[in-house]
Symmetry: C2
């Protein structure tokens, strides 16, 4: 490892002070334009590389933003991260990413690692088992902006980016009711997570508003994985009377249910209408296409990152500090899997 060039070397070479070199390289206004140019060229020629360690030490900043997601290999999450990366990259920030794999312990460990590595800000989507967010207190106390998205906690310090899951749940349920469905099964993950709790709320509200009873046995809990599809269908088959709609909180899982449903003799949507969530590619691939909620993951990532960076750059006094929740628009996308009016002629 050869000796690295420092601003001292450049300074000596050019007969100026290290201070001037530092300023020139940082494009400080109070440096003569010509001097600046000369220094810049010399640095280039000498192969100077700014020592970010020393700069960080002085500035107490890393230009790194920590991200904690439940899982990286999820359609939704990778879209979000892609959106974040775009914005961060353009603003000169790096993304330090870790996944909790839906384990609180891992989430805590990751939060501590990121805290110790001194990220300038945090973007978090909680693990599905995380109940307390006290492991983020260190960030709050130290004034490190920490924003949550999608899976957020109900906490005054927790500014979050979400879609209106209650509204989405309501829209889906209402749509199914309008299609003549009477017994609508709702499949969700852990009820402690805001997204599922809210969708269930919307589901209940819609039933209420249409004078339909809420039947607890129609709420099925599942981790919503591709693999759990078979089990969900098994449970559905046991319901008596059989349901006439399935509202599953995840497209990949909904799409995976299609085959076992067909094998069990259900026609979609005639016997059972099917609705997913997220507008993933899987909802568009299968036949029939699956009705879903468009969940703007990429945009959510962009927006969350934009806000975080504005905050870091002091441009947003008052915007986030007073805001507790920022809600993105989502929309119901109606496809074949739930369109019964067209397909099922009234049985006289």
């Amino acid at each position: 490892m050869e000796k690295e060039i420092t601003i001292y070397d450049i300074a000596k070479d050019m007969g100026v002070s290290p201070t001037t070199v530092s300023r020139a390289l940082n494009n400080h206004p109070a440096v003569n334009a010509k001097t600046k140019k000369r220094i810049y060229d010399a640095a280039q020629e000498m192969g100077y590389q700014s020592n970010i360690f020393a700069a960080n030490l002085r500035k107490k900043k890393t230009n790194n933003i920590g991200v904690i997601v439940p899982r990286l290999n999820s359609n939704f999450q990778s879209s979000v991260i892609a959106g974040m990366e775009k914005v961060a990259n353009e603003a000169g920030f790096n993304l330090v990413i870790s996944q909790s794999l839906d384990s609180v312990e891992k989430e805590i460990a990751n939060a501590n690692t990121l805290f110790n590595s001194r990220v300038d800000g945090m973007l978090v989507s909680l693990a599905n088992t995380t109940e307390s967010i006290e492991h983020y207190n260190r960030f709050f106390k130290k004034g490190i902006p920490t924003l949550f998205y999608d899976r957020v906690a109900d906490h005054p310090a927790c500014t979050g980016f979400v879609i209106d899951n209650t509204q989405a749940g309501y829209k889906v349920t209402q749509h199914l009711i309008e299609q003549g469905c009477k017994r609508i099964v709702h499949v969700i993950d852990n009820i402690d997570i805001n997204v599922y709790a809210d969708r269930l709320k919307g589901y209940k509200y819609a039933l209420l508003d249409h004078d339909m009873p809420f039947d607890e046995s129609l709420v099925i809990f599942s981790n919503l994985s591709e693999e759990s599809a078979e089990e969900i269908v098994e449970q559905v088959k046991k319901l008596d009377p059989l349901p006439d709609a399935l509202f599953i909180s995840n497209d990949a899982c909904a799409a995976s249910c299609l085959r076992p449903l067909k094998l069990a003799g259900f026609r979609i949507p005639e016997d059972i209408a099917l609705v997913g969530f997220n507008n993933e590619i899987s909802s568009r691939l299968v036949e029939p296409n699956i009705t879903t909620i468009n969940y703007p993951g990429y945009e959510m990532g962009e927006l969350a990152m934009k806000n975080l960076i504005n905050h870091l750059e002091g441009k947003s006094i008052g915007v986030l500090s007073k805001t507790n929740k920022i809600t993105l628009r989502s929309e119901l996308i109606i496809r074949e899997s739930s369109l019964r009016k067209k397909y099922s002629p009234q049985p006289t």
Copy 2:
């Protein structure tokens, strides 16, 4: 912002030297166990947080590993990254991730950013338009281990993790030939990328070995996106005579072709057999299920990261330094979309 606790504060408090504190906190063997414990407890109590800036400055290490991928919101890439994160996390390294969006310019910019942020090592999958890898020379020269995966370059300094794409292409083509296919269309992205060039090579070899002619008009170029499916099918329809097999280098794209193919009147696999690549969920969702190559992305991420970290920790002298390519096993997964023998009785 309060004053932070340093090892000096602890040292003063406990009547020992900062050196001892530093050693104790780093679990240095030459420190009395009791002293160590006392120091550790005191640090805990005083709310000491190691200043990683200063440590980095001294050690010239960041514990960060840079990752450049073509796109984050890709099924395959997010699996790879998930595998990397798991291994890195366990070994105490952070992942700094950026995406090139398949643009050379962005890839170069990202490489420079990561270089300047002094990552300890690099893991790269090239953009589909990247021809030269000279923007990684700075890493090579400085001895920063830089490994490539999936999309690698043919360069002596470029150690890469790949599957045997030639073999995979061969296996698929051979399988299709065995199923009685005579005119096999192969759809790939940029031929300058090793993965596609190699698959095409395998395709050609298989034809050769079975005394079948190579017809250039049967190779279709596409970005393999979901959206490009319609266009691919359009091109297929124009072929004369019509092909009897489609080997598409990406599952999501292959799955997306299914509907337009059916709409055009093709039965799968009777009229046209269909094969994808990657074993993504989409290949399992559609009907018929799509024959594909299992591409172990998660394992590739794990393996690449393991090797990189071994290298960083000096455990692998000679393993990687002398290796230019590490090949992972992949396998043909035969599903309904290409099984013609069962379905198409011989037309006497």
